[in-house]
């Protein structure tokens, strides 16, 4: 896997070609991006992070010198296969609907003895500063690869969270009058050359959700779903929500519910 990742770093040099202005015909650009994705399919830079996540999972860390191997992500302690695809879900022990990130943080606090502030300080990577949470999410996400997303939101707390996510999806505000639905509520639209998924349909939400976490070429980093949604709010010119905020988890629940049935292909590669 490490060898594959080194190959992928070489492929990244190729990627830089696509970072420049796009003057070509739309179809040509789409073709080139598809070719590029194919070139990286054998060595997604996210693989490196997946390896790091795996070692973080089984390493004894924190004041309690414990591993995360007893962490329950919804399928029972330490059961990871398909766990990501079934999140967010309701957890009895916290009496909350949690996504993969809030649950991992919960495990780091309860099992390893870290404080929440300690583990969330570096929730996203910066150049030269990697994020443990991103690595763990990439590792856990990959364990759902090939599994269908399954968030039927049948528990009343989950059903409520999905409805609240729907409310936020259509809620307009800010100096551009944006809501999520403005860009993601119709079929076959695009911003500049970027295709926009219709997140109100299973296909659209599925295409969007199945590849997270994803390596973002333009950012040179893996982004989690929390990071993606928090950045959407930035694009809408809204202020920044708190990491692990309920409204972000509500949006995730709404989107995962809509995407239910779509097979996971993660970690993905995006522009």
């Amino acid at each position: 896997m490490i060898h594959r990742s080194i190959q992928s770093l070489a492929a990244l040099a190729v990627a830089a070609t696509f970072a420049g202005p796009l003057f070509a015909q739309d179809s040509k650009v789409a073709d080139e991006l598809a070719k590029y994705r194919e070139a990286l399919a054998d060595g997604n830079p996210a693989d490196l992070l997946e390896v790091k996540g795996e070692s973080l999972w089984s390493e004894k860390r924190g004041p309690k010198k414990a591993t995360l191997e007893q962490c329950d992500l919804g399928l029972g302690p330490g059961k990871l296969d398909g766990a990501y695809a079934q999140l967010p879900k309701y957890f009895k022990d916290t009496n909350k609907v949690m996504d993969v990130e809030s649950r991992l943080v919960h495990c780091m606090v309860t099992l390893q003895g870290f404080t929440q502030a300690e583990v969330t300080r570096q929730w996203y990577s910066k150049p030269g500063k990697e994020s443990d949470i991103e690595a763990l999410v990439t590792f856990v996400g990959a364990k759902s690869n090939g599994k269908p997303i399954n968030v039927p939101a049948t528990h009343p707390a989950e059903a409520k969270m999905a409805k609240m996510g729907e409310y936020i999806f259509y809620r307009r505000s800010g100096p551009q009058d944006f809501s999520c639905a403005i860009c993601h509520g119709q079929e076959g639209k695009r911003i500049r050359l970027q295709d926009l998924g219709n997140l109100t349909t299973k296909d659209g939400a599925g295409t969007a959700m199945k590849t997270w976490p994803s390596y973002r070429v333009s950012q040179g980093a893996v982004w989690t779903m929390q990071r993606r949604l928090i950045d959407c709010m930035r694009q809408a010119r809204w202020p920044e929500p708190e990491y692990l905020a309920d409204s972000v988890i509500a949006l995730e629940t709404y989107l995962q519910k809509t995407a239910t049935g779509t097979v996971m292909e993660t970690p993905g590669i995006k522009r």
């Binding site: 409805k163 809620r171 505000s173 944006f178 403005i182 860009c183 695009r190 500049r192 010119r237 920044e240």
Partner: protein
């Protein structure tokens, strides 16, 4: 007979209500609003948080998933039309070259702690994000209609110029809950900047109409 008519109208009212999709969030909408507002960082400056306030148009559009019933839409359109302000000199058509720049700029106004725009970052209309305009620019979006040859097709009568200015200033004066931002209402663009974009769309020398 009268009773029958009354019953009938009650029945149709119920049916048309049922046919309409439930407002987003359903019975949890109020709670969802509170949750949303309380999701933002406590250290966010107050003036940032103002951006989450909703006027009646935003609220109503959300409830109807941007498809309000005609009567309600007309009311919103009237309210929005009343907000339109004009440059002091009354000239509604400016410099198309300035407008061309404003149409391309997609930066400005991003706030937050992670990736904010630096102070004084140029702010544009970002028209190409959603519209096709000059033929040479291929990186255009399709959320809005193509505006290629806008002036060539519509001419440059005073009526068209005013319509174009008004539409950019407050798009909801014409179509309630349209996807298009209300650039003038939110002071995103100044009245003068709007006149430049009007020129970019209408001036016969502009690449929108030349190519």
């Amino acid at each position: 007979m009268k009773l029958k008519i009354a019953l009938f109208s009650v029945l149709t009212a119920t049916l048309s209500f049922a046919a309409q999709a439930e407002a987003p969030g359903g019975k949890f909408a109020g709670e969802a609003e509170q949750m949303f507002r309380s999701s933002f960082k406590a250290e966010n400056p107050k003036y940032w948080m103002k951006r989450l306030d909703q006027d009646e148009t935003m609220k109503t559009c959300g409830i109807y998933r941007d498809n309000p019933p005609r009567k309600i839409g007309e009311k919103l359109e009237k309210q929005n039309a009343a907000t339109i302000r004009y440059p002091v000199d009354g000239k509604l058509i400016g410099d198309w070259k300035e407008g061309e720049k404003l149409a391309a700029v997609g930066t400005g106004g991003h706030i937050g702690f992670i990736q904010p725009d630096p102070a004084g970052r140029v702010r544009g209309g970002n028209c190409y994000a959603c519209h096709q305009l000059a033929k040479k620019e291929l990186a255009y979006g399709t959320i809005g209609p193509s505006l290629q040859q806008f002036g060539k097709v519509r001419g440059s009568s005073e009526e068209i110029i005013k319509y174009t200015y008004d539409k950019i200033y407050n798009s909801n004066a014409f179509t309630a809950c349209t996807n298009m931002p209300r650039f003038g209402l939110h002071s995103w663009l100044t009245p003068e900047q709007i006149t430049h974009i009007v020129a970019f769309l209408i001036d016969p020398e502009s690449p929108v109409n030349k190519d």
